[in-house]
């Protein structure tokens, strides 16, 4: 039973160690908790309350909370955290420009470079715009600090201009980009892309091999799923 926890927790420790080195440990923990907790809560509830087992710990109305149920919930939880911390580490520790340029020099179309980076800019820009819009509407007497009904009435005056001005901005942006030939098909000669060090190349191949090995082990039955 304990074995089901060992590998995922080891992975989590490795990921957190990498995050500490990259300086994103604090943010990673916060982001992973925020993302995983909702799912975790439902998993715990469902498994702990309904999973059949032999050792009943507690009886809660029609539900028998068994040790096996708690164990299953626990194992699923650590796996969820292992996944979310790994993905979180990738997102937080990677410079999006470096990532996209690297993909492009390996053959990805330049259009992806633009789309990827432009969408990263979109969210903070929208947030800033929403702030100005809220200020303008409040200055015209829109009450954002009052009753629920008052706040609901404020939805259209707040959301409408955000959407409309975002659309206008997208149009302006795309025209400006077209003039600078962002729509041109075909390769371009990048000025810079992240260097590929031998250590990183080895690490990449090892990880790919490990993944292949895991999949094979699972298929051949050498690594059983959680009971």
């Amino acid at each position: 039973m304990a074995g089901g926890y060992l590998v995922p927790m080891a992975l989590i420790v490795i990921v957190l160690a990498c995050a500490a080195v990259a300086g994103v440990l604090h943010r990673l923990v916060r982001v992973s908790l925020v993302l995983t907790l909702p799912i975790a809560i439902s998993v715990i509830l469902v498994s702990a309350l309904t999973r059949p087992g032999e050792t009943v710990l507690l009886v809660l109305g029609p539900f028998d909370i068994t040790l096996e149920g708690i164990d299953f919930a626990g194992q699923t939880l650590v796996r969820l955290f292992a996944i979310s911390t790994a993905i979180g580490l990738f997102t937080l520790a990677t410079d999006p420009r470096a990532f996209v340029f690297d993909l492009e020099r390996r053959g990805l179309s330049p259009r992806f470079a633009f789309i990827a980076a432009a969408t990263i800019e979109a969210v903070p820009a929208m947030a800033a715009r929403a702030g100005v819009i809220a200020a303008a509407q409040r200055s015209r007497g829109l009450d954002t600090e009052g009753s629920l009904r008052a706040r609901l009435r404020g939805v259209l005056p707040l959301v409408g201009p955000v959407l409309l001005s975002s659309l206008t901005e997208v149009e302006e942006r795309s025209l400006a980009l077209e003039v600078r030939a962002f729509g041109r098909p075909g390769r371009r000669h990048l000025l810079w892309w992240p260097p590929d060090r031998p250590l990183e190349r080895v690490a990449r191949w090892l990880l790919v091999a490990a993944l292949a090995g895991l999949v094979a082990a699972r298929l051949l039955g050498a690594w059983p799923p959680i009971p």
């Binding site: 420009r97 996209v100 330049p110 470079a113 633009f114 980076a117 432009a118 990263i120 800019e121 901005e169 149009e171 302006e172 942006r173 795309s174 025209l175 400006a176 980009l177 077209e178 003039v179 600078r180 030939a181 962002f182 729509g183 041109r184 075909g186 390769r187 371009r188 000669h189 990048l190 000025l191 810079w192």
Partner: protein, 268 residues
């Protein structure tokens, strides 16, 4: 030479055309000012001349746009961009968002054209030097003042190597410092020999800069002539255009029978 011949343009989704039979010529090395009241068609002329209308934004264009005698119909936007580029009012929306430094930002245009690295670098350097913003090369494009941002945007256009540069109200959203920066940059731009079409409300900016000034009203060209004479034309105000300060002052003096500015010893 960039020419509009009989250009009549209707925006997509609108019933009536905004431009009517516009004839406009922009010759190499010329600086032409474009003035007119709001909604007179200045911006539309800029969009049509740059090819973005109808290529990018749709709509219907009748008449022709020609470069060196050849019609531009059939060219794609990025092909056209090597001949004519257009800059807009807002420095923030002209920023690509994919460049970490100003140098990278300016180099994006030539890089997108698929030019070899050496050529891209050379063009970026030259553009920064022309507009005298080499000192901004390592700065984050998102953290510049409005005027600086506008200069970076113009440098980015210049790096495409076009023969015609169209600017649609480049100082409209700038403070006085920014406007001065851009005004100086316009002179530097003109010195490169590129043809320049500048749409502006601020006639003071165009005064002394342009060779020719074109006045638009109701989607038609109503006046097209040498800058000095055009900016002194008395009908400008009827067309919603504020004459330059010196012209207004001269008229106020003349109306009271007072000596002219020149006679008073004010240098022209």
């Amino acid at each position: 030479m960039l020419e509009l011949r009989g250009a009549t343009y209707r925006y997509a989704g609108y019933a009536r055309p905004v431009l009517h039979e516009v004839d406009l010529a922009l010759r190499d090395g010329e600086i032409v000012g474009l003035v007119g009241g709001t909604e007179s068609g200045k911006s539309t002329i800029c969009l049509v001349a740059s090819g973005l209308a109808p290529l990018s934004i749709g709509g219907e264009l009748r008449g022709e746009v020609r470069i060196d005698g050849e019609p531009t119909a059939g060219l794609s936007v990025h092909e056209l961009a090597q001949w004519v580029v257009i800059g807009f009012q807002n420095p923030a929306t002209q920023r690509s968002g994919v460049a970490a430094t100003v140098f990278e930002e300016v180099a994006l245009g030539p890089m997108n054209l698929g030019l070899p690295v050496a050529e891209t670098l050379a063009r970026a350097r030259r553009a920064l030097a022309t507009l005298r913003i080499e000192h901004l090369a390592d700065r984050d494009p998102a953290r510049l003042s409005g005027g600086q941002g506008q200069l970076v945007a113009i440098a980015g256009l210049l790096a495409m190597g076009p023969r015609h540069v169209i600017l649609d109200e480049p100082t409209a959203q700038l403070d006085p410092e920014g406007s001065n920066l851009v005004a100086a940059a316009l002179r530097d731009l003109a010195a490169t020999g590129a043809a320049l079409l500048v749409a502006e409300q601020r006639t003071d900016l165009l005064d002394g800069l342009c060779d020719r000034v074109v006045v638009v009203d109701g989607g038609r060209i109503v006046l097209d002539g040498p800058a000095a004479a055009t900016l002194e034309d008395r009908r400008l105000e009827d067309w919603g255009v504020e004459p330059p300060s010196r012209v207004r002052l001269a008229r106020a003096l003349a109306a009271r029978g007072l000596p002219s500015l020149a006679e008073l010893g004010w240098p022209a």
